[in-house]
């Protein structure tokens, strides 16, 4: 799960391997804040798989790669 300078750099890095999913860093920021934002809250409770899937779905990350189960 890495950051790259451009999509061309991802293609070069993959070197023919099957690609996963590519998103913009802006979208990654949205994902990181929705996913990790409560991680240090004193009232933290574990997320269910359904809650985590909803975070992905709500951000439009709905392809097969983003299915948690």
């Amino acid at each position: 799960m890495n950051l790259f300078r451009s999509e061309a750099h991802i293609d070069n890095w993959l070197g023919g391997r099957t690609p996963g999913a590519t998103i913009t860093v802006r979208r990654l920021c949205d994902l990181a804040h929705d996913w990790w934002g409560d991680r240090l809250d004193p009232e933290w409770q574990p997320h269910t798989r359904e809650q985590n899937q909803a975070i992905l779905d709500d951000l439009g990350l709905t392809g097969e790669l983003w299915r948690l189960a």
Binding site: L3, F4, G37
Partner: protein, 147 residues
Amino acid sequence: MEQADVELRNATYSMFVELGRAPTAADVGNRLRLGRTDVVAGWRRLHDSHALVLNQHTDEIRMANPFSAVPTAYRVSAGGRSWYANCAWDAIGICAALHVDGMIESSCPDCGEAISLHVVDALPNDEALFFHCLVPASRWWDDIVFT
């Protein structure tokens, strides 16, 4: 998850932030007045429920996601402190978890050129960058260190 394990998990995370490194079982035991055996037993339950990741050989913390206990390619400076993150997602996640702006220092895995990303008000300062996730979500926990 039992409430006692939630409290153990929360203390572990709090100390990770305070210390700038993973707390040892002794650190957390002193905080919660628990013996090392009880801390490690709780950590193993938290590991099994994916609430943190243990080094299976030493029973010490390997990941308290998004924080990494070991040096990685993602260094995060935020709120006057710094930590390592497990990946790019986690690096921004440290800023998110702390609710502060931050700077992520890394390098492009393809060309090696340095990447410095500032996250300000939950937004990136360089929108030309891209994130790639190679492993399908259904397999992230098959080998979370690789993921």
